[in-house]
Symmetry: C2
Subunit: 358 residues, 2 copies
């Protein structure tokens, strides 16, 4: 999808110009073999164009040529998928020439994918591919029809007698049900790890967690009362806690703790990534929590909390881990470099997928 | 998905402000009960903010309040789904507060959905819903792995002995394989018409048509040699021309003519929407075309060309229809008001779905 349909577009541009002012087709971003990247933006009238990217320490300026094309080439970047945006004078916007958009409700950023010399775990590789199903379920909790995404592993046909385990995977605070696939490449991570025999074939359910009016408790109800039954009625899955996992990032990491630890009869695996826990629901659930630790540690095969050392939630995560340890709950920390980013999310998920249902 | 996660976001905004300048959460667009719409944009520094929308004759200005929130309320708009964008000083951009983006490679526009008092054919209604599968196929023609979307009708489980007919549905010139679902609501149109008994349950395949280096002939090869075999190996479908249809819009409408009329052994239904035909492939295929009209008219159960009277391609479409008629090819015109728009695309598809495979 990345490359535009240049020749034809140039044809069409003239015809369309009556009803929309379309700038010329330019290529941005161009990732070079040495992992440097050129970004381009067209404007004859802008005074300043800056590049903001999660691979940069600070914004860098683009420079205009005589035709109105602004550009900058940044030095080689560590292969990964990064969000970026342009700041044109005072306006922050996604790269108009890049189809890949960060799926989010609050900002519009683009994504640049710098492939590794050896393919990365999140890259589309030459292995059998699963599918992503966009499905609609009726939420009795919320009184509406809602969309969710379902990853089915390679070769899945829904005809087999084989039953699969299920991971329920939740996005971050202003993300959408598409963020784990569009930005996190959860499907390619699963494809690659399954092909290598490092993960067991599983179904991954990616719901939309930003519910109203009470985001936290209502979403927990939606998962337990609506989403799990929908999946179990429509997919061949094992209906046991030992074959159910819940994982999530940021706000979804907090939801993961709330959903998982208060429903250990339903979830045998709980993987929380950089959890945001400054919520009423977390306070209600855990302030005076006195679980039967022995029973909980037996019910839950794996309880992990992952975080980057530069994450703005790092201190909060450390406090929560201390709280769980104080209550004799076994929690496995996974601490990496970096911040509150989707670069880290992909690492967290790739690590979890190798530990689930084994 | 539309509404943002206000309370939580306000919490998070402070925490995140270190690494990204996020404006306050504002609601845009707000569609009111009388079908008027309020659009909002936040900027303390912009000199001018304009709204461009396909429901407007000309751009309208937004007005700034003392807090830096620009807004405008437009009078009641005919219920439909429309693309729009903001022009902030010289910068055209999608609405930062609207999750619904027009899936396209060349521009970033948002979408506003004005529901009808009686639900429209493209609106999600309380009927059984099909699924959309995101699949990956290996293209021998193009030497790469490509994504396509597959709509499966309500109740589809791939376990039945029942075999379905297939519509291959192609997007416009700079659109993507997601445009027919994200902008065209092809899945909801099919759900609604199937529920009403007006369309037969079918599979709808939405490939990505912008291929390189030779967009037109290479895509035809990709459809015939790679996409059809992939679908027929992976879905329970009838493998006969009478159960295959091809349809497409604009550039995809031209591709539809090229693919369909040169492969009448494979397609019993050809539905071309506002076709763009100023291509080498069209010239090659049709300049000196002398088909056996009687045979073709018998092989093709339905050949339609749809266009709006204000479409910039209207004259070209009329010429092509005359050319087909001159060769005694039966072509059924479907002429509506309006231009080269996705509002018309939805009408064209809804009309075709009621005529296919009957």
């Amino acid at each position: 999808m990345k490359q535009t349909f240049h020749t034809l577009i140039l044809f069409l541009a003239a015809s369309f110009s009556a009803n929309a002012q379309r700038p010329p087709a330019i290529s941005s971003p161009d990732v070079h073999p040495d992992h440097s990247i050129t970004f381009r933006y067209f404007s004859r009238t802008a005074q300043q164009v800056m590049l903001n990217g999660e691979f940069l320490q600070a914004p860098v300026p683009l420079v205009k040529d005589t035709s109105g094309i602004w550009s900058v080439t940044v030095p080689p970047v560590q292969p990964d998928i990064y969000p970026y945006s342009f700041m044109v004078d005072s306006v922050s916007l996604a790269d108009p020439n890049n189809t890949y958009i960060f799926a989010n409700e609050r900002f519009k950023r683009s994504i640049v994918d710098i492939p590794g010399d050896i393919p990365l775990v999140h890259s589309m590789q030459n292995v059998p591919h699963g599918a992503i199903h966009y499905r609609y379920y009726q939420s009795s909790t919320l009184g509406s029809t809602r969309q969710l995404l379902v990853y089915t592993p390679p070769g899945f046909k829904n005809t087999e007698k084989r039953k699969y385990p299920v991971l329920y995977l939740i996005h971050g605070g202003s993300d959408t049900e598409e963020t784990w696939t569009k930005v996190g490449h959860a499907n390619f991570i699963a494809d690659n790890l399954i092909a290598q025999g490092k993960a067991v074939p599983m179904i991954i359910v990616m719901p939309y967690g930003n519910v109203r009016p009470k985001p936290m408790p209502d979403f927990t109800k939606d998962v337990i009362n609506d989403i799990i039954p929908f999946i179990e009625n429509n997919y061949p899955v094992v209906k046991k806690a030992a074959s159910r996992a819940v994982a999530g990032f940021s706000v979804g990491g907090g939801q993961t703790l709330n959903i998982g630890l208060t429903n250990t009869d339903k979830f045998g695996y709980i993987c929380s990534y950089a959890p945001y826990t400054a919520t009423e629901e977390f306070k209600t659930n855990f302030t005076n929590w006195s679980p039967d630790a022995e029973k909980l540690n037996k019910a839950v095969k794996l309880f992990t909390i992952s975080v980057g050392t530069e994450d703005f939630l790092y201190e909060s995560v450390q406090k929560n881990m201390a709280m769980f340890k104080e209550k004799n709950i076994k929690v496995k920390p996974y601490i990496v470099d970096g911040g509150h980013t989707w670069m880290n999310c992909k690492k967290f998920l790739a690590t979890s997928l190798q530990e689930l249902f084994k």
